[in-house]
Symmetry: C2
Subunit: 385 residues, 2 copies
């Protein structure tokens, strides 16, 4: 199996981008990544996108995007794992490069979500839940995560303020990310007093509806060494795991088993412990999600995610910074793009190119991308060579 | 790169299966494949499905299917390349096994198409065309293939009867396949006199709307040798190529460039010429498609696909049998399942298990699976070891 490196990154601004279609967004991010890598040709393309069919009436985007990028007839395919589609695009590309089937592969993520009404977007997102057991009966994602939040508060004494603190921290980070959808400082009081969505979650506990795209170029480490232009970022681990996508079938609502399984596999592949990781980008689609993810990753003990957030562990100047990009909450959450945008931030930090939000002395970062209410999770560990 | 073998196959009957949901269909095919391989555990799952979102309101099926198969938390992901999603599921699984990331992988395909109206199904299928340039303006797939057929008839003198003969041959084969949707012998006259869909294509030139699933289990050849129970079928080549998904951007409407590119790559990988292939399953979504595919695969010269069909080259007792399964036309076309169902037929023939439709002395078969009007194509070559 060949070792794989990330040799180029690109992303669009995230937001309500009414002048760009899905293909425009993807091509912009992809061209940036190719420029950054210094390549004018790719051997294959993997696009992560959750539901171009429901959001834009367009399937078959692997070919469409390869063509619009000027790279057809190279292989171009789409992978989907709901909101973890971006992470899966990277993992699938890694399989192609590690196997020797391709050398230079573009792994991108994209979602164009604002061309439909809010109700249609909510329907499209709910297809990541179990249609027969959950979505058909009217449950939506804020509702599912509200169940998780309520269970966590009941079981572990997590406070309403702890949830709010996740949003406050991530908005604070997003202020320093020019690509973020929201450059807006918020307070715990504002989160708690914002409009109710699904008790106990308010609108400021929820990540937004977003258009955007991100892309990375991967290659064998040996190829990366020849192109050497920037610090080489190696993929130390790429792991994926699943769980029941319906909440009612889980033993413990507060435990994200797919993340725990993927993380255990990733730590084993990389030969590291959670304490060897310097920082992380995690899937904060709702504030409670970040808290549960910290626990499933083994960064804190079960039930301690809220307290750890309150105590500043995950702040930019904390011991284990989380979501320096602003996270899904502030940077925005174009679902298929999110997993790749996380990789964009990890690489940016590892290269020392993060500007005002740059962390000091970081050598190893982790990205955790999640589908639905945790039915799938992808964990990558990246290191500077 | 590790050599990969197919060690188990399974498929449901194809048809209007109103008592089975998408998950039921997939699990039935998957369990058959696992039984056939003699394994009770898989290391990963790749599901090909074109549009579970538009057909059933369900995305995130990689996790859903891994769970319903009793295999969660193993990695489970969906890949999509329109009607070539099945072929791409196999190719993606091969990358996972060839790289060493997984050993035993289930590659399946599924589509549940009859839960929506005909108009909704036509809309869903049209998302494989270019939404902005084609589908938005009302064109549907029979219309796109009618343009190809008209161009082929004009440029090469292909006759209406030649198109009809593809359907007649494939229905003749489907009579002998217990899994086929239609067990119905038809004549050239019946095809020509059947109801018009998009001139020159009539209803009997078109593959149907179908529910169904198919699955194969793959493993490194070395693992296959240890499990040795049936003849070992090795993947000699796995290739994929793209083209513009919009017809108007192609230099020649009659030339399926993605198939030609994927075939050239596959022949190179396997170290063979078209004349070294004993038989094939190809993507006859419309009768004209099979004619164009024969040419793009290099089985006949450009323009000669109609004449070759008329002359019996591709009949079951011809020199190069094509679609002994009945093809998409007679076996049915649950779009995401089709690429895997083709592999099912190739393996069945290579093992000598095809019953009344068994070909004599076949050692090497080719499967060609296509997305949209040829925007993507996947070609696999399989050999008995």
């Amino acid at each position: 199996m060949r070792d794989v490196a990330i040799i180029g990154i690109g992303m669009t601004d995230f937001g309500e981008l009414w002048h760009d279609s899905l293909r425009d967004l993807f091509v912009k991010a992809a061209l940036q990544a190719m420029d950054d890598a210094g390549v004018d040709h790719i051997d294959g393309l993997v696009a992560g996108c959750m539901s171009p069919g429901l959001f834009t009436g367009q399937e078959h985007i692997g070919s469409l995007l390869a063509d619009y990028l000027g790279q057809a007839p190279v292989p171009g395919v789409r992978v989907e794992s709901a909101c973890a589609s971006g992470g899966m695009a990277l993992r699938t590309g890694i399989a192609y490069v590690a196997s020797g089937m391709h050398d230079i592969v573009l792994c991108g993520g994209v979602e164009k979500m604002t061309d439909v009404s809010g109700a249609q977007a909510t329907y499209a997102l709910a297809t990541a839940a179990d249609q027969e057991m959950e979505a058909f009966h009217g449950v939506t994602f804020p509702g599912l995560y509200a169940l998780i939040a309520t269970a966590h508060m009941h079981k572990y004494g997590t406070k309403r303020e702890d949830l709010a603190q996740v949003a406050v921290k991530n908005h604070d980070n997003g202020m320093l990310n020019p690509h973020a959808q929201y450059h807006m400082k918020i307070t715990v009081e504002q989160v708690i007093n914002s409009v109710k969505v699904a008790d106990p979650l308010n609108i400021l506990d929820c990540s937004p509806i977003t258009d955007g795209a991100a892309a990375v170029i991967i290659a064998p480490v040996e190829v990366a060494k020849k192109l050497k232009k920037k610090p080489i970022v190696k993929v130390a681990a790429s792991a994926h795991a699943t769980d029941t996508i319906a909440l009612h079938q889980r033993e413990d609502l507060t435990w994200l088993k797919s993340t725990a399984e993927a993380a255990a596999s990733a730590y084993k592949q990389a030969g590291v412990k959670p304490s060897d990781i310097d920082f992380a980008e995690v899937h904060d689609c709702f504030t409670i999600a970040e808290i549960c993810v910290l626990e499933a990753l083994g960064v804190v003990k079960r039930g301690q995610g809220g307290k750890a957030t309150r105590d500043g562990l995950t702040a930019r100047d904390g011991k284990f910074p989380v979501n320096t990009s602003g996270g899904l909450k502030s940077k925005g959450h174009p679902v298929g793009a999110t997993g790749i945008a996380q990789i964009h931030e990890i690489v940016t930090q590892l290269r020392g190119e993060a500007g005002k939000r740059q962390l000091k002395d970081v050598k190893r970062g982790l990205a955790q991308n999640m589908g639905g209410s945790g039915g799938s999770a992808v964990v990558h560990i990246l290191e500077v060579l």
